[in-house]
Structures are given as structure tokens and as C-alpha cells.
Amino acid sequence: MYAYDEIDRTLVNERVSEFRDQVKRRLSGELTEDEFKILRLQNGVYLQLHAYMFRVAIPYGTLASNQLRALAHVARKYDRGYGHFTTRQNIQFNWIKLAELPDALADLAEVGIHAMQTSGNNMRNVTSDQWAGVAPGEIEDPRIWSELIRQHTTLHPEFSFLPRKFKIAITASDHDRAAIKIHDIGLKLIKNEKGETGFEVLVGGGLGRTPFIGKTIKHFVHGRDILSYIEAILRVYNQYGRRDNIYKARIKILVHELGIEKFSREVEEEWQHIRNSSLQIDDEVIEDIRSRFAYPSYEKLPHNPDQLRQAAADPDFEAWRKNSVAPHKVQGYSIVTISLKPIGAPPGDATAEQMDALADLADRYSFGEIRVGHEQNLALPHVAKRDLPALWKALDKLGLATPNVNLITDIIACPGLDYCSLANARSIPIAQELTRRFANHELANLIGRLHINISGCINACGHHHVGHIGILGVEKNGEEVYQITIGGRADESAALGNLIGPGVKFDEVADVVEDIVEAYLALRERPEELFMDTVKRLGVEPFKERVYATR
């Protein structure tokens, strides 16, 4: 993981002291709520239905164990003993008191964690693959570049008051776990024919009211030019992005209105002015950042240790191993995904006790490192295979070994009407009910990979457009109504789902999902054909017929 130096620490402390002054001015009435709103949003503080909500950044999803303990401490001391991991590698605390926020920030700053730009119309937390640096077949560790961009986008003097929020995601694998195609800028690390590192740059992806899949704006931007190229995109956006209507202010609308060709010409012209400037990155700078990422000293370990062979007799362990353990680039090690989706609980929540215990397990079994993924699960990125049985036992005791990663109960959901002031409908209770319906592990396994994504309003924090099954809650005549789509996906083949039929009431959502799943099981050609492949092969119609036949 990246170790802050004195320079990074100084900046975070300076930001905390600035925010302390802003809170003080608000509490004394010197700042109006309207003025303070923009300032608090720059620092991840929302005013929700019941209280202030505080969103903390976990850049590119990498946490050290002491940082996870600090998050547990904040949950315990300033909140109600739990936190909620989001779809953008952030954690949210739902019950924070304004007057205590500066202290919470100061506590987090001690371990190099901040909340800068986790909301507001600026460049948000830079996200990446939660398996970065350990996934087999990666071009190189995308976190080096993520950190470079994190620094460059932090308190940017030109782009801190953009037309709307701006999100950047980076991947270095063919299989995209960072959902780069639904980001304002998506970056895919690639090598050119000379073997030099650079990026395919996508622009204009995003969900919300008007969803778009990102388009490639440039097939190869050399690594040394990536900051100037991003700067050029942002300068065009800052000047020409719409500010008259918040629903049309994202860069995706500008790209759509100008067309990708015209937009890319504008960017190219701007870029030619600034590419040979101090924004150019030389290898030494990259090496300096790389040198502050600590990589574990892996042992030489067998591929299939005795401990693993012995544990294979336990069907519960095997169910978990097959579901939650993925190959690591180093022999003898694994990546372990930790499901934050226990049956009947809100997706993505973790208690302070779980966070503390997980930090201890990370110290013991994963070189003190934890990852956070956009699916609202956690991961231990460097677990020796011989330790898997012991780790499983410990996770199981903590309620963190539900073997449902990538299965139908591994649901992404926004906080919805239970917390959020923007929501029109509840999300969490829908997710809870669905996990109960599909609680049987054999059934979930039979269904196979299937992502359900739930948003409680059109802003799409639950990424419903790109769920294999997407559920969007809206309000109609004072009632919660849910629109259901199928066929969306967020990976390298990203696509938006299609509406399957008329909206249904709160009580009917789980029934409809069960009917969709039943239709899939009847329609699939063979057990290996995944839900999304059946939908791709047959389209929405056969599903619609079966699901709505009796409605």
C-alpha cells in the first residue's frame, strides 16, 4: 500500500484545519447554510434525512490494517458503531454530529485517511480494481497511476468547481472490475507496440437520469502525458459543460451533445497547448510513487498445501473456498473476497467490531492489507493458501464468510429512503427480502453468477442500469413503484439493461425477481449458460412473457 510522506500528511492536516474553521464559521452563523453546503460537500458531508452523513475516501480501494481500525474507531466514537461501504470505494457514516466532524477527520488524518472531494462538483475519489497488484495477467499495478492522479486531482485550483461531479476509474486487467465504462473518465492501462505504458482513455460514461456507456476518446495516451490529457478533458468540460440544469451537467451530456468526434477535437487542440509543459511526468516521478507502495515479501509456497487438502473434506469450507477465493499472481497465495452481504442484512455494512477483527486477520494472514471493491465487498489480497482454513473459521465467527460472492444475494444497493434525502423509495428492505428468498446456497449456486443492483431513485447510486437485474425505485402517486430491467452489466462488455415491463409495487418486487430467475432456469440452454448470456441470446421478450403472463 501507499505510505504517505511528510508532504502528503501536511496537506491532509492543512485541509482538516481549514474544515475546522469552516464548521466554526457555520456554527457561529458567519456562513449561511447555502454557502456552507458547498464547502461541506467538498469534504464529504451531506445532510440526510435524519442526520449528517460523512463519506470517507478509500483511494483505489486499498486500506492498511491501522486505517481500517481508524474507520472502526470513527464508527464507534462518532457514529452508531457501523459503517457502510459504497460502490465507489468510500465508506459512509450515517449519524455523525457536525460539531464533532473536525475531530473525526483529525483522527483519520493520523493514519493518512481523508474525506476530500468525496462529494461536491469536483474530481471524486479515484477508484481502481480491488485486485490491483495481485491479479494474474495485469499490465502493471494500476494503483501507481491512481495515486499519481489522486494527488493531481486533490484540491485542484482550476477544477474544484466543475459543472458537476467527476469520477475517474482505472483498470489494468482485461476483465474490468473497476467499471471504467460507467465513469466520466475511464482509463485502461495498456502497452503500445514499443512496450511503453499508456492508457486507452474513455470518456462520458455515467448512470443517473441519462445513462451512457463511456466512449473511447483516444486509443493510446502515453503514461508521461496522462496528466496533461486529463487536464485537457477537464478544461474543455469546465468551460463548456452545462450549468443551467443539474441533470444535464455531467460530461456525458456534453460528449453526447457535441458528439465524440467534435469533443475529442476540442480536447486534442487544448492538449497540444499543454502536453509539453510541467504536467509531463518523467519515469523518476513514477518510480518515486512506486517506491512508496509496500509490496509483501512472499514466501515460496506450494500450490496445493496439506492444510487445504485436509480442509477439503468439510463441505462448508469447500463451498466458501469455491465461491470466495480467487487465484493470485504468486503461487501458493490467494485473493479472498469477504462478503458484506449476509442473508437479511443491509448490503455493504460492517460493524466496528467486524472492522477491528478484520484488521487483525489482515495483519495475521494478508500482510496487513485490506481491499474494498465497488460491489460493496472487502478483500484480503495476499492470503497464503495454507492459511485459508484458519482464516475461514475466523471469518465465519465474525459473520463474514457468507459464500455468496457474485451470486444472486451479492446485491449492490444504495441506502435508499431509509437514510437518503434524495431517495424516492426504499432499497435496503428490497435487498434484505431478496437475500431471504434466495438464502439457500444450493439454489443460488444453481443460478450462478447474477448481479442484482438496486437504486432508490433516478440518481442511480445502486448502479441499477448495469445490474444483470436492475431495480429502480421511483415514486408514483405517493407510492413506491419499482421498475425492473434485465441485461445490464458493468464490466468490459458494459451495457445498460432493458425494461422488462410495467413498474411493480414494493411487495411484488421479490416475486417478480423470482419469476425472472425461474424463466431463466427454464430458458437457459445448459447449466453453464449464465443469466446475462441467456438474456443476450434471447432478448427481453421471452422473459417478459413469462413474468407478466399472470400479472
Binding site: D5, I7, D8, T10, L11, E14, S17, E18, Q22, E30, E35, I38, L39, N121, Q151, H152, T154, L155, H156, P157, E158, F159, S160, F161, L162, R235, N238, Q239, R243, H273, S277, S278, L279, I281, E284, V285, D288
Partner: protein
């Protein structure tokens, strides 16, 4: 609204002219863009200094032919969440080499001072007296900067390289 220039609260020598106010004989005037472009010759012939108030949705490149002759460019922040003028400011300073006074006007709070200084502003029409008085203290709030801009402040990346090289000496 107090004007901060050179870090201090100062008297503003410029009189803001509306589109239709008759042009005074002498004295410094600040003129809306529309009028400035229309009457540039007459304005620049006067003895007093001339400044222009440039809206944030008009191409700043239009000003280039006049940059050597005007004393002030005032860029507008209709609300402080509208950040277009930051780009205009950087273009003026860094691409068009404008060296005169660059004034931020509109909803200017202390919370923008550092961003504005970094973008090249050196004078500020501050909305609140308390913010104007807090200018010097607020401007010094940050000592670390991640991005290179035309203000010449050393960036974190650069500082690290210097540290690396100085540590490298003799080893």
C-alpha cells in the same frame, strides 16, 4: 465590498461603468466586455486606466489583442460554485502571458482565495469584510500543492525529486 490587492485591503481607484453611462473625462474605469469591445479605441485613448469585466461564458482569447493595453481584467464568479473563471484566469496568465491586475469579482469568499491565487488572480472583490480581513492568514493556509500552475509554487512531486536528489548526494 472590500477590495484586496497585494494582500491588503485597498481603495478601488476604478469606477464601474454601466453599458450606457457616459464616459468620464479622466479617472480609471472598469467597463463591461460588450462595451469595451465596441469602444476599445475611444477607451484606450483616455488618460485614465482601463479595465474590463469579462463574463465567464465568453471566449477569453478575444481579449488577447488588448492585453498589453489594459490595466485590469475582472473575471466573474456569479456564484462561487461556478468555476469557469478559474480556467479563464489560467489561460490569461499561462497561455496569453497577461501581467496586469487579474481581479476576481462576484461571490468571493475566503474559501476560494488559495485556489484563486494559484490560478493567477492577484486582486479580489471580497463579499464579506471579515473574509477580506482574514486574507493574509487564509492565503497561507496551505503549504503543499500537488498541481503545477503558472503561480510558480513548487509542487509536491517536484519537492520530492529535490529531496531525493539532495539525499542522494554523497551516498
Amino acid at each position: 465590498m472590500p477590495l484586496v490587492n497585494g494582500g491588503k485591503i485597498v481603495d478601488d481607484s476604478f469606477v464601474k461603468l454601466a453599458v450606457d453611462t457616459p464616459l468620464p473625462e479622466g479617472g480609471d474605469v472598469l467597463v463591461p466586455a460588450e462595451r469595451f469591445v465596441g469602444e476599445a479605441d475611444a477607451l484606450l485613448k483616455r488618460t485614465g486606466k482601463v479595465g474590463v469585466i469579462w463574463p465567464n461564458n465568453r471566449d477569453i482569447a478575444e481579449l488577447v489583442p488588448y492585453l498589453g493595453k489594459i490595466a485590469v481584467v475582472a473575471l466573474v464568479f456569479p456564484t462561487f460554485r461556478d468555476g469557469r473563471a478559474y480556467s479563464q484566469a489560467r489561460l490569461l496568465r499561462e497561455r496569453y502571458n497577461y501581467r496586469g491586475e487579474l481581479r476576481a469579482t462576484g461571490q468571493i469568499l475566503r474559501d476560494q482565495f488559495v485556489f484563486m491565487l494559484r490560478a493567477g488572480f492577484d486582486s479580489f472583490d471580497v463579499k464579506k469584510q471579515a473574509d477580506a480581513e482574514a486574507f493574509m492568514e487564509t492565503a497561507k493556509r496551505y503549504s503543499v500543492f500537488y498541481q503545477p500552475t503558472g503561480d510558480g509554487r513548487i509542487t509536491a512531486l517536484h519537492r520530492r525529486m529535490q529531496l531525493r536528489h539532495s539525499e542522494g548526494v554523497g551516498t
